[in-house]
Amino acid sequence: MLSLRDVSVQYGNYTAIQNINIEVRSGEIVVLLGANGAGKSTTFRTISGLNKPATGDIFFEGSSICSLTPDKIVKAGIVQCAEDRKLFPEMSVQENLMMGAYVHRRKKKEIKHTLEEVFELFPILHEKRNQAAGSLSGGQQQMLAIGRALMSKPELMLLDEPSIGLAPLIVEQMFESIQQINQDGTTILLAEQNAHAALSIANKGYVYENGNIVVEGSSKELFANEEVRKAYIGA
């Protein structure tokens, strides 16, 4: 579905990621692991078209998306829920969700239906639907960001550290929600610090170190890998 081939990205003359190869197949959950600054968010920004690769190419369902602008990439079916959420703080929760459906703006009925689905997944958003997004707690904002991404009915969803700053109990719920979203038919590429929880729901994973992928394999293989266990799973 999505494949990155030898992708390198630079900020000025600093190379943030180098010769990255990633394959995501339809229906999978794929996780990117790595320390802070390893290049996970950069990879996501590049897939979404916010950064342009210096070398390499990105294919989505067979065609290159490297030259597309971010809005075209969303239309193609890839939506990103970014690390810093990028909500519209002064709009209400519901208005934020409605903006998520921007690419489907002509299909009023479908939007209403998707909105109900999102409210079902995150009941708290329904309760707070008329509040400004900026007034929500961090965890609620994270749910809103994911809900807003879902509103575009993506085929592939990029989730950049969805569990960041959440209470342990909520983290568990968050991963359940992600699994739910995946079972409902959305392919997921996930960046996580929470390696154990992420690998438990994922099909496979890639481990980043200083802008390179150093290990890749199925979840089982990564769980079994001694170095990965030491560095990221901590057991």
Binding site: K86, F88, S152
Partner: protein, 287 residues
Amino acid sequence: MDVLFQQLFNGLTVGSVYSLVALGLTLVYGILHIPNFAHGALYMVGAYITYTMMTSLGLHYVFAIVVSIISVGLISVLMERIVFHPLRDSTPIQHKVAAIGVLLFLEALAHYIWGADYQQMVTPYGQVIEVFGLTLTMQRILIVVTAIVAMILLYLFLKKTYTGASIIAMAQNREGAHLMGINTNKVAMLTFFIAGVLAALGASLTSPINLVFPSMGHLVILKAFVIIIIGGMGSIPGAILGGYILGFSESIGATYISSDYSDIIAFVLLIIILTIKPQGIFAKGEA
């Protein structure tokens, strides 16, 4: 008492025009994140185009305004494309310098085309009518009604349509808007178009009771800055309310203090409001 009501109505007239100009300025602030100094030049060009359409082509005032607002809207889009778009990744100071450059360019152009003389715009709505004992000219009623209708339409557009909401979304988080599938280039152009339309509309409406000249935008844009600072940078209700607050303060000040000082009132108001509420009336996060 009569004098007070008369002055309040004048305040409503002046405030309507201020609000229109400040609205455009505040919308563009959401895109550029700097006040666009060239906005006052768009206002001036708007007045001149209406004037020229009436005098050279003999168009009716209303049609002249239509031509003017569309032309200035397009000039404003052109300015976004040629000047601000290429600068989108540069620093705010470069935006400011560019904006001042555009301002100087448009004023020099106006000098070149229309000369430095003061021109009088004649309105077909000069009739005087009596309403509830107040003496009003049709022109002033036209200003108030048109401005309010324009503001209601703008409000409905921004609140009720996806295209309008994308302007607000982009002002609040540009990358967020991009990641929702919004074409930020189109939104920026649309915003500049609307701002140009509002500036030209304000200028064309008020010109018959003022005069048309190359530097006519200076004082207005200065006051529009005061308004959006008072109202809270980027706030739409703040720009409208701020415009009327200033309009009323000026006309009441002119009556009860002295008309010589009416232009200073804006700045006194600025100092007072910023002392009480440094973030402006509708500061971000509250509006």
